[in-house]
Symmetry: C2
Subunit: 173 residues, 2 copies
């Protein structure tokens, strides 16, 4: 599938709704923070998505579009959520993520990006040169990565309950 701005925003627009539906009504036994920066709980993943909306995708797109002297992105803090979320209820975090995502998508649509702009480049602090198009595609795949991760975190909590079926369940293997 070739990169397409409209098809990218289709996925980006659904993610807050997907997470709301996936997680509403689940007991904290399913969704609580793990307290472990190396092995996140659902709560920690939502905090990470919020931090991405605030500091990653759109701010980096703005650096690329500005084409200023310094095109290097600010490094992203992958564990900021362990300080930032501070015991707020999960529903509140999901709502905050939804609002931030809406605001960011409105900005993206307002830009009316041209193919030329999508090919503009910035510098990732570790990976080097990247295009705006690649940044936006990565935003999409990053969402899907964390939806998949949430499903895996939930599934693993039931790992000891499935008995011999475990070998059929690739999410546990």
């Amino acid at each position: 599938m070739k990169f397409d701005l409209k098809q990218s925003t289709e996925v980006l627009a659904q993610t807050p709704f997907t997470l709301q539906r996936m997680l509403e009504g689940l007991s904290p036994a399913w969704t609580a923070t793990s307290g472990d920066k190396e092995d996140w709980g659902v709560y920690d993943i939502i905090g990470h998505l919020i931090h991405g909306e605030e500091t990653d995708w759109i701010p980096r797109a703005e650096i690329i579009l500005a084409q200023g002297e310094n095109k290097t992105f600010v490094p992203f803090d992958r564990v900021a959520q362990f300080e930032g979320s501070n015991g707020r209820p999960l529903e509140e975090l999901i709502t905050e993520f939804s609002h931030l995502r809406n605001t960011n998508l409105e900005k993206l649509v307002r830009w009316e990006l041209t193919p030329q702009q999508l090919d503009l480049k910035g510098i990732h602090p570790e990976l080097g040169e990247v295009t705006l198009k690649q940044l936006l595609a990565t935003w999409v795949v990053h969402d899907l990565n964390h939806v998949s991760q949430i499903a895996r975190v939930l599934a693993r909590k039931y790992e000891s309950n499935v008995g011999v079926w475990k070998e059929y369940l690739s999410i546990l293997n």
Copy 2:
């Protein structure tokens, strides 16, 4: 996490809503059948979930609860959806899955299963002896497995667009 009937139904009840939200508004380029029994598209995964509601979870629970002469489950057809779905729109399949899931969960709740019943056993045609509790836990993890699989199928469609970011995106690796 120990098996808990209420906490299990929390996840089972959300899955149709999760899928609706995850997939509504996505172009067919994201969701179409792959036509490949070894490498399913999103459309094929939803067909598989429908077939599970019809022939797998509740029918097998009924075999266990009956404790009849023959406690062996009917083998599950993993590719039945390639014949069954016949080009119906994806939205229609998701709605059908939702209705089947609701009906099945109503039945499960009406049973008011006791701890003794949850420990009753049936025979899986390949895996051997399994308990009702394990069947129900597997139903939960199976849902999560396919939510995760859908995210992965979507992500892979954008694999060639993310450039050097690929190494950070575990869903592509």
